[in-house]
């Protein structure tokens, strides 16, 4: 037990409880910022960073090992490229589904059951989600990798 505590952070009950309560709300707010980008301030970049902040809070409260188990690095690496694929794929879909009439990233030709202008708005929303996924994964990965290195080296010094 004592050994586990040493590797998994402070183990403070208040910090753990508060962050366990806060994380869902931070993530919900991040999703709100991404989706709300069309109607007000916000968008993919900002929402992605807020989402990444919730994982950083997890690392601060539970330590790198527990947080890493909750959000494995292998999935994170996949999410890196998933966001860019969504963005570039939407652009390519516009060309393919209009049989070559539309230009790349012309969202008006997506096969959605609304009229031209509204398709552009929905296409923008999908693209913002892609941006959000990439930004979230990259910021989280940078933080995890920096912290991981430091903790593993510190652990070896103790031995």
């Amino acid at each position: 037990m004592n050994q586990k505590r040493k590797n998994t952070g402070e183990g403070d009950v208040i910090v753990e409880t508060v962050s366990r309560l806060m994380v869902p709300f931070i993530q919900l707010f991040a999703l709100y910022v991404i989706i709300h980008g069309a109607g007000g301030p916000g968008g993919g970049f900002q929402g992605g960073v807020i989402f990444a902040a919730s994982f950083i809070l997890l690392v601060i409260a539970f330590g790198i090992v527990d947080a890493g188990d909750r959000f494995p690095e292998s999935i994170n690496t996949g999410l890196f490229s998933l966001g860019v694929y969504i963005y570039a794929g939407i652009g390519l879909l516009c060309i393919l589904l209009s049989y070559g009439v539309a230009q790349y990233l012309n969202y008006g030709f997506l096969p959605l059951p609304v009229h031209f202008e509204e398709r552009r708005a929905l296409g923008m929303d999908i693209v913002e989600i892609g941006i959000g996924i990439t930004v979230m994964a990259v910021i989280t990965s940078i933080f995890f990798n920096l912290v991981w290195k430091r903790e593993s080296e510190g652990g070896r010094e103790e031995e």
């Binding site: 690496t77 941006i131 940078i142 990798n145």
Partner: protein
């Protein structure tokens, strides 16, 4: 103090001075009607009565066409009377009186004081013409358009919009492209800046109320795709440099 800290301080002061120098030239942020945001001045030419008559009838005068052709610009085919820079708007209680005297062809005194506030002094021989419903023209050395928009009267600089044809320059519809304005004895020809199209048409074209979002994700979609790729590349570089496999602390 060390030499390096002194030089760092000087560098920061230099950067600050440079920033202030650059920022002094930036137009007021968010002011859609400031001249640098709205128009690009192409050239000026001497005004003549027959030019104005042609423009009022919707015909492009040959001299103007020649000049545009000389500069290898796209040629317009129709002129329409259009509103330029927004000068001011009236929304007090007394606008019914102002409207009434405009309808009778008289120049109201309330408008004259408002014009003096922005530094335009009009002579006594001002003519008021009713163009359409809720649309008047005040003609003096310069011309102004008064429009009723909702519960207020808005006064614009008057001019002519020159339209280019459908299909020219990849525009899917006919499009206003030049703006001609009479300024004393000269006729200034402006081109609408691209940002004017974003501001005026973006909301109808994309159904998104937020101007920042539709420019970022739609009109400048390629740019944002590139930005996302830059962030992706940063993440990949961090993985290559920092990730250590199988170094999990036991």
């Amino acid at each position: 103090m060390k030499l390096i800290s002194v030089s760092a301080l000087l560098f920061v002061i230099l950067l600050g001075a440079l920033f202030i120098y650059v920022a002094a030239d930036i137009p007021d942020f968010g002011d859609a009607y400031s001249a640098p945001n709205r128009y690009i001045l192409l050239f000026s030419m001497d005004a003549a009565v027959e030019l104005e008559d042609d423009l009022n009838q919707g015909v492009i005068p040959q001299r103007l066409m020649d000049k545009l052709e000389e500069k290898e610009l796209p040629l317009p085919y129709e002129a329409k009377r259009g509103a330029g820079v927004l000068l001011f708007s009236l929304r007090e209680e007394g606008i019914e009186e102002v409207e009434g005297s405009l309808n009778k062809g008289l120049f109201p005194g309330a408008l004259k004081t408002e014009f003096e506030k922005i530094g335009v002094s009009l002579s006594d021989t001002v003519r008021v013409m009713k163009e359409e419903e809720d649309n008047w023209i005040i003609a003096d050395k310069e011309e102004f358009i008064v429009r009723k928009e909702g519960d207020r009267l808005t006064i614009y600089d008057a001019g002519w919009d020159l339209m280019i044809e459908k299909g020219e320059l990849y525009y899917p519809d006919e499009q206003k492209y030049y703006f001609v304005e009479k300024d004393g004895d000269t006729l200034n020809v402006y081109r609408y800046a691209l940002i004017v199209r974003y501001i005026e048409e973006g909301h109808h074209e994309t159904e998104v109320p937020n101007m920042v979002t539709y420019i970022l994700a739609d009109y400048r979609g390629y740019d944002t795709l590139g930005e996302t790729t830059v962030i992706f590349t940063a993440g990949v570089s961090v993985i290559l440099l920092l990730r250590r496999r199988a170094r999990r602390p036991e």
